[in-house]
């Protein structure tokens, strides 16, 4: 897989987990019950499993981590898997804030890549799966779990007719397996349906854009850039872009700065670009629009 295909595989699984291609770096989920615990980040590092402690330790060890000093005092409680952290509002707010830190995002990307993506790609390579869609399927199984249980049932690729047949068979076996489990796991069968849709579209190489579980994933959504991070193009996506950058755009356009790049904002951007001489032709609010509106 090249970098775009790898990022696409990650984005697909991000959509499965968070409903967003980039993932919810600040996503926090709390499990109810006596043994409840909180999970955090793009791929659900959890308090109960100890992965959240590992993630935060990694983050705090980064020199430019802006929230490191505030998080450090909590690390012992994370290490002890202190369930009182579930309801600690200060910790939740701190974790939310830390997710805006680019260092936290990079840490999560590296952390989850080492923990899930790299082993998944190695497992796929050992099995002989070379096509990006197949590797995305393997990655998804590593993120959600159960790869070790199901892969032996399907056997080696040689047991199937070819690699694509094997992937289809594996998806089918996994779909049935998920449906046989206790709730809420049967509800996650949408993951297998999304892969099946890609197979039916013969998109074995994950050519973008793709629609996964109702979310459009384009190359711009992958956050890939050469060198210094470029300011992203603001455009109409699902879900809508919502951030300060959008708010700045709206102020520049003279409309209510609600911070949501929805259809109304998109229409206003389109009208402004058309009114320029010569009209600006680019997707959404890209570099030309930014330059023209000075935001």
């Amino acid at each position: 897989m090249n970098a775009i295909q790898t990022a696409t595989a990650v984005a697909i699984v991000n959509v499965f987990e968070t409903g967003s291609a980039r993932g919810q770096y600040g996503g926090i989920a709390i499990m109810k019950g006596d043994n409840g615990h909180l999970s955090y980040g793009r791929s659900q590092a959890s308090l109960g499993s100890g992965t959240l402690f590992d993630l935060l330790t990694d983050y705090c060890s980064q020199p430019n981590a802006t929230c490191a000093a505030e998080l450090l005092p909590f690390l012992p409680r994370f290490q002890q898997r202190d369930v009182s952290l579930d309801t600690d509002d200060a910790v939740r707010k701190l974790l939310k804030r830390a997710s805006d830190d680019i260092v936290m995002r990079q840490t999560q990307d590296r952390f989850f890549s080492n923990r899930f993506l790299t082993p998944a790609l190695q497992a796929a390579q050992r099995l002989g799966i070379t096509q990006p869609l197949g590797q995305a399927v393997v990655y998804d199984s590593h993120i959600q779990g159960g790869w070790g249980r199901l892969q032996p049932k399907v056997g080696a690729i040689s047991a199937a007719r070819d690699e694509q047949s094997w992937i289809k068979t594996y998806i089918d076996v996994r779909r049935k397996w998920l449906l046989s489990l206790n709730p809420p796991l049967p509800a996650t069968v949408y993951r297998m349906q999304a892969f099946t849709d890609l197979i039916e579209a013969s998109n074995w190489f994950l050519k973008l854009p793709i629609v996964v579980h109702g979310v459009t994933v384009a190359e711009e959504d992958l956050g890939l850039s050469d060198g210094a991070p470029a300011r992203p193009t603001l455009r109409l996506t699902t879900p809508y872009m919502q951030n300060d950058d959008v708010q700045a755009l709206q102020r520049a356009l003279g409309i209510t700065p609600d911070g949501v790049y929805g259809p109304f904002t998109d229409a206003k951007v389109g009208a402004w670009k058309k009114a320029q001489t010569p009209p600006i032709v680019e997707t959404g609010a890209g570099p030309l629009t930014r330059a023209g509106l000075h935001f």
């Binding site: 499965f16 987990e17 968070t18 409903g19 967003s20 919810q24 996503g27 989920a29 709390i30 499990m31 109810k32 019950g33 006596d34 043994n35 409840g36 999970s39 659900q44 959890s46 109960g48 499993s49 579930d86 939740r92 959600q144 779990g145 159960g146 070790g148 249980r149 489990l181 206790n182 709730p183 809420p184 796991l185 049967p186 509800a187 996650t188 949408y190 109702g214 699902t238 879900p239 809508y240 919502q242 409309i255 209510t256 609600d258 949501v260 929805g262 259809p263 109304f264 904002t265 998109d266 229409a267 206003k268 009208a271």
Partner: protein, 715 residues
């Protein structure tokens, strides 16, 4: 009555009759024929008391009022030493064959001589009809005749084709006249059309009915074919051939209404109906017999031995012979009563003996089983192989009995069918030697059963804990529900910020958002949360659509919505998207928690208890046909062996209940992996116990148990 007299005798009688008549006439006129049988072109010679010198003569012949004058009649005076003169005249070539009255006279006769002469096709002509061989046929054809009125439906008649064989058939083909005479059922058939039998349409069809006409063809003096002869209701036909008034012997021929396959079909149907009656009774009395979760319907159940859940050979033999006997007798009854119109036939003496042998075998097998114990139950579900195996091991005594049973039944049925329904008079007697052999075969079977050790039978199997490792882990896991209070609070807070005066599209989006909030708030179980993403996805679509419409309205010329409304609509859609993403993330987190318990469940120790009969503690064990070695077992004494819970009364070396305990933590890695494959996931497994003599028993059990694990239960 004269029809039954042979042709030669009839000629003799006719000659005598002529002689008598001539004698009578002679007594009156002293005239007589030189020969009463004359061919065409030959002279009729009448000996008369005529003058001593030549004189004119007159002669005529008359038949059925048709008188012909013989033009060349002459009188020859008596030769020296002879008493009578001769009046002679040549029979015309055109004369019709048959018996005639001849009148001859010359000068000096007191009265004309009146005599009877028979004109035949050639000198010394004679005709004979052979017996039919065979004297019957099943091959009848249907002729379609017009109804009695134009509107009446087509009448169907059965017809038959025959080939007459004999000698002396007048082989002169028409067209001028019909020389060959045919009598069918005593009636002279002058209506036969001698155009052959090759016309395929001569019998008509339902759409084009035709009058029934007998067609024929003369192939020579020895063969005549007739076709389209109507068959009377009783199928009996009689035929005679001849010429003029000369008739051959009368030969009988029968056209049966049903052929072998038809009668066999009826007999098979009767046997089937009779077989269905007990099945129907069985279906009213009990429900399906279930073995290893599979229902065995009544046909199978009839052959099953309930103690071992295997197919019983002795029952098979008994049923086979019973059905064969019913079939044979039904065949005989239909043939005799409905085909031959005879009386109700008797049953041959050896047939009850055959039934007796097979019934005795079945009873004897039951007695041996009661005394010695059952055979091994073999594979978990009954298979046809049970007929030749005992506990999964091939038993020669069973093989030979099965072979002899099939051979005997097959031979009997074949012999029944070999006799056609028109000729069968009784069921073929089963040869005594075969009967003796059947008895010997059954004795061998029972002796083998007696000599063989009882085999293992598993009546019930249970495992503790009953559920799989995954199932136990899932059940013991505390439900982990996602906490979505904060996303709900955020969404509700947003709703409060939207002014009530906003237009319809905003209200549509708001309604969808409120629906999403309500659905999320109502989710209290993992199942509720499972369905929530789909509900929120619908709400998201609705709000996004409303936002798009509001944006279009706000940017239209002129605008039909305000910028504030368009902004509110897209904010509402964004709020639904946030709520939806939060819930999806929460569900994913909950699923991940559930997955943790599945991926790494607790491995539970296992105890399997088996109850049945003739269970050897030294038996080899398998689960799913993979060996369960003794090294994986541990008993109460700490030995690698099963626990004997109950010994078998009839044979103390056997047990009636055994316990097999597996301590998972004490297993080495290889055995641990195998135990994982057996017990980690739910599913169906097959437990096999093979006694040292090779007889085995299998029983299926499911994890978790879906039903009582007794092997063979009624459902």
């Amino acid at each position: 009555m004269t029809d039954r007299i042979p042709a030669g005798a009839r000629h003799l009688i006719r000659a005598c009759a002529f002689l008598c008549a001539a004698a009578t006439l002679a007594a009156q006129t002293s005239s007589q024929l030189e020969s009463p049988r004359v061919a065409r072109g030959q002279a009729i010679v009448v000996l008369v008391n005529g003058p001593a010198t030549p004189a004119a003569a007159r002669m005529s012949i008359e038949r059925q009022g048709d008188k012909t004058l013989i033009s060349d009649a002459t009188y020859m005076p008596p030769a020296p030493g002879a008493a009578r003169g001769r009046i002679s005249g040549t029979v015309p070539e055109t004369a019709t064959l048959g018996d005639y009255s001849v009148t001859a006279e010359t000068q000096g006769m007191a009265a004309a001589a009146k005599l009877r002469v028979s004109i035949e096709p050639y000198a010394n002509a004679d005709v004979h009809l052979n017996e039919f061989s065979p004297k019957y046929t099943y091959d009848t054809k249907t002729a379609y005749l017009p109804g009695s009125t134009p509107t009446a439906s087509v009448v169907e008649k059965r017809t038959v084709d025959v080939s007459l064989r004999g000698t002396g058939f007048v082989a002169v083909e028409p067209p001028q006249r019909q020389e060959l005479q045919i009598w069918i059922n005593g009636v002279r058939r002058n209506d036969i059309v001698w155009d052959g039998c090759k016309d395929p349409n001569r019998l008509g069809s339902p759409a084009a009915p035709l009058d029934l006409v007998v067609h024929g063809q003369v192939f020579g003096p020895e063969q005549v074919d007739l076709c389209g002869i109507e068959v009377p209701p009783n199928g009996e036909l009689s035929f005679a051939a001849g010429f003029g008034d000369t008739k051959s012997e009368i030969r009988q021929f029968t056209a049966y209404s049903m052929d072998t396959s038809t009668v066999a079909s009826f007999a098979a149907a009767i046997a089937l109906v009779l077989a269905l009656i007990p099945l129907w009774l069985l279906s009213r009395a009990r429900r399906a017999y279930r073995i290893s979760g599979k229902d065995y319907r009544y046909v199978s159940a009839l052959f099953l031995d309930p103690e071992t859940d295997t197919y019983s050979l002795s029952k098979l033999q008994f049923y086979f012979w019973t059905v064969a006997a019913i079939f044979g007798y039904a065949f005989l009854y239909i043939s005799r009563v409905f085909v031959q119109h005879q009386t109700w036939p008797d049953v041959p003496g050896t047939l009850p003996a055959i039934i007796g042998v097979s019934a005795g075998t079945a009873i004897g097998a039951q007695i041996v089983t009661s005394a010695k114990g059952t055979k091994g139950s073999g594979e978990e579900a009954p298979t046809i192989a049970d007929l030749v195996t005992s506990g999964g091991v091939v038993a020669v005594d069973r093989v030979q009995m099965l072979c002899w049973t099939i051979l005997g039944v097959g031979t009997f049925v074949s012999a029944v069918l070999h006799e056609g329904p028109g000729t069968i008079t009784g069921l073929p007697a089963v040869p005594e030697k075969l009967l003796y052999l059947m008895g010997l075969s059954s004795t061998g079977y029972l002796a083998g059963k007696m000599a063989r050790k009882a085999g293992p039978v598993i009546a019930e199997i249970s495992m503790t804990p009953a559920d799989s490792d995954d199932g136990i882990a899932a059940r013991n896991a505390t439900p982990r529900l996602p906490d979505v209070a904060q996303p709900i609070a955020d969404a509700q807070a947003f709703v409060a910020t939207v002014p009530a005066s906003m237009n319809g599209r905003v209200q549509t989006a708001l309604t969808a958002l409120k629906t999403a909030i309500a659905a999320t708030t109502a989710a209290h179980t993992t199942t509720d949360f499972s369905g929530l993403p789909a509900t929120l996805a619908d709400a998201q679509k609705d709000t996004e659509k409303a936002a798009a419409e509001a944006a279009a309205a706000a940017t239209a010329t002129p605008p039909t919505a305000t910028a504030a409304e368009a902004s509110a609509a897209q904010q509402t859609a964004a709020a639904v998207q946030r709520l939806s993403a939060s819930v999806l993330q929460a569900v994913s987190a909950a699923a991940a928690t559930q997955m943790d318990t599945i991926v790494a469940p607790t491995l539970n120790d296992r105890v399997i208890e088996v109850r049945g009969s003739s269970l050897s503690p030294d038996a080899l064990l398998q689960i799913d046909h993979v060996d369960l070695p003794f090294r994986m077992l541990i008993n109460a004494q700490g030995q690698h062996a099963p626990d004997i819970l109950m010994r078998d009364d009839t044979n103390p070396t056997f047990a009636r209940a055994l316990r097999f305990s597996l301590l998972r933590s004490s297993l080495d890695t290889t055995d641990q992996e195998q135990a994982d494959r057996w017990f980690r996931e739910g599913g169906r497994h097959v437990f096999t116990l093979m006694n040292p003599d090779g007889q085995k028993a299998e029983a299926a059990f499911s994890v978790p148990p879906g039903e009582m694990q007794r092997v063979g239960v009624t459902s």
